[in-house]
């Protein structure tokens, strides 16, 4: 029998990363600039990502949307020659400062990538990976976390009989949901999704979207997508990026029905991108 983990309480959250400046926005970005070498990839980004909302980031390829997402868990630094200025706070904590441990940040901010990238390990080991590296060794507890995460990712019924099989035995869509389960296993505050369905077929895409709808009660989601219909279907707020700038950011329904900027209108009507 499974023990469902309880809903977050304000109290539990504060105990983990307490900071007095923390307001309702999980992420607060002010005047963020980023350069790859000399190429100016993000220009003066101001954006908030609100708690338990799905924030979609749309825009043509090369507009900086993925770069922005990877700045939020500082994966962008792995690219190499990157210069960042400005301010990004996560629950009131400056994440760009030297004092921020990226490991701590990433234990609270999961990431799902374009292509499903499960480890060449068993399904069980994939989900247990996060809790294990963060110091949970108790087998019973790991079992519980694995089951709970797979249930949340709507994958449990499909894989419960073959937890010890290689993750590569799963279909592409199942692999991607496994990757989401892997994120959920560390009970993150936020999950960043970088075009998570771009490598999937329509049926699998639908399942992942369903999944996003259910887990957003529990976790904040920022999703980069090139698929405007997807943004419209699943997100609460949408930010439109173009050439490294934010053109417009609003409630999804507003942005898609009455965009204020001409470029947004052109883009959502398919005139470019």
């Amino acid at each position: 029998m499974t023990t469902t983990l309880v809903r977050p309480t304000e109290d539990a959250k504060l105990r983990v990363m307490k900071n007095e400046n923390w307001t309702k926005a999980v992420y607060e970005t002010n005047g963020l600039n980023l350069w790859y070498g000399t190429a100016h990839a993000l220009k003066n980004i101001d954006l908030s990502i609100n708690e338990k909302e799905v924030t979609a980031i749309i825009g043509p390829s090369g507009c900086g949307k993925s770069t922005y997402l990877k700045t939020l868990n500082r994966m962008v630094e792995n690219v190499g020659d990157v210069t960042i200025s400005g301010n990004v706070t996560f629950m009131g904590n400056n994440i760009l400062g030297k004092a921020m441990s990226v490991e701590l940040l990433r234990s609270k901010v999961g990431m799902v990538f374009q292509k499903p990238n499960p480890f060449p390990k068993s399904i069980y080991e994939n989900v247990a990976y996060g809790p294990k590296i963060h110091g949970i060794r108790n087998k019973a507890m790991l079992d519980m976390i694995v089951e709970d995460s797979l249930r949340k990712a709507a994958l449990w019924d499909e894989v419960k009989d073959r937890l010890n099989k290689s993750a590569y035995s799963l279909s592409g869509g199942q692999q991607q949901r496994l990757c989401i389960a892997r994120c959920l296993a560390v009970d993150p505050e936020v999950i960043l999704m970088d075009e998570p369905t771009s490598a999937l077929d329509p049926v699998s895409t639908h399942k992942v979207e369903e999944l996003i709808r259910t887990i957003k009660n529990d976790v904040t989601i920022a999703i980069v997508t090139h698929n405007m219909q997807q943004a419209a279907r699943i997100s609460d707020r949408t930010a439109f990026f173009l050439n490294g700038e934010i053109v417009e950011c609003d409630r999804t329904s507003t942005l898609f029905s009455t965009p204020t900027d001409e470029r947004t209108e052109d883009y959502i009507n398919g005139r470019f991108g």
Binding site: M75, E103, L104, K115, P120, K121, Y129, I133, S166, Q175
Partner: protein
């Protein structure tokens, strides 16, 4: 006009197929030489392969000579070479692939490794003789020979392991870092397990190189006729290729047969190891294919 052109083309096509057969014949010749080599040696040695050949020590009398000490010595040598070279090689490969920044020092280390790979094995023998046998007073022991052989195969292990680490897709590293894993955790729990197969393949091939190497052992002064089994890492010993070398040099044809038999044992050992290497390579190819 067309007929002239066609006859020219026909001539070129004839030349083309002639060359194809010529190239094919060369390949066949190379295969033939390989076969001839194995057959020529194998036929002479098979007769000598009996139980006493494995249970006898080396001897002045060809009919009594056996490879007990040499076989055990080779295994003892490997007991030093495998852990030492694996430790040095794997650490170096991990450092160079996962940690090293692209600077002059790293380039210098890489250049050193490629230089080291080209140094003749007999020169490694001179290094071992000066440093391990004489300066460190290890004498002609298993340890001295093992350390020399480890240095000899180190560049091969490093390069093979680097390639193995490089073949692990970056998406797996991203996934692990994205979970908040540290670099070391990522290496231990994700990268190394994914690369194990290819690392083993490269390492086993270099171990078989170390098993067959003779020249460094000669320079280190490893003896040939040893009438006892090694008792510890500082014990003196003899090894299969040394034994074969000694028998091959002796004028009596009976010793040549013993050398052939020794070569069969050596080659069976090496081909078995090659088999394992191929097995691990195939397994790792399957594992990383998603």
């Amino acid at each position: 006009m067309d007929r002239v052109l066609q006859s020219k083309i026909n001539r070129r096509l004839t030349k083309d197929s002639a060359m194809k057969w010529l190239f094919g014949a060369v390949v066949a010749a190379v295969l033939g030489i390989t076969f001839f080599l194995f057959y020529g040696i194998g036929a002479d040695g098979v007769g000598r392969l009996n139980l006493s050949f494995f249970t006898n020590f080396g001897s002045r009398f060809p009919e009594k000579a056996g490879i007990k000490a040499a076989l055990v010595g080779t295994l003892a040598l490997m007991a030093v070479v495998i852990p030492v070279s694996m430790f040095l090689g794997l650490c170096s490969a991990i450092y160079l692939e996962e940690y090293a920044k692209k600077n002059k020092w790293t380039a210098f280390i890489e250049m050193n490794i490629s230089n080291l790979a080209g140094v003749p094995s007999v020169v490694f023998g001179l290094l071992g003789l000066t440093v391990f046998v004489r300066a460190l007073l290890l004498g002609n022991s298993i340890l001295a020979a093992g350390l020399t052989m480890s240095l000899l195969i180190l560049p091969i292990i490093i390069v093979a392991s680097q390639e193995a680490l490089r073949s692990v897709p970056d998406t797996l590293r991203e996934a692990s870092y994205g979970m908040g894993a540290t670099k070391w955790q990522t290496i231990i729990h994700v990268i190394l397990p994914s690369a194990t197969g290819s690392i083993l393949t490269g390492s086993i091939l270099s171990f078989s190189r170390a098993i067959g190497e003779t020249a460094p052992l000669i320079v280190l002064g490893i003896p040939v006729i040893v009438q006892f089994l090694p008792t510890g890492p500082l014990s003196t010993f003899t090894a299969l290729p040394m034994q074969i070398y000694d028998w091959a040099k002796r004028p009596q044809p009976e010793f040549a047969d013993a050398a052939s038999a020794g070569i069969i044992v050596l080659m069976v050992l090496l081909i078995t190891m090659n088999g394992f290497a191929i097995y691990f390579r195939n397994r790792s190819e399957k594992k990383l294919k998603s």
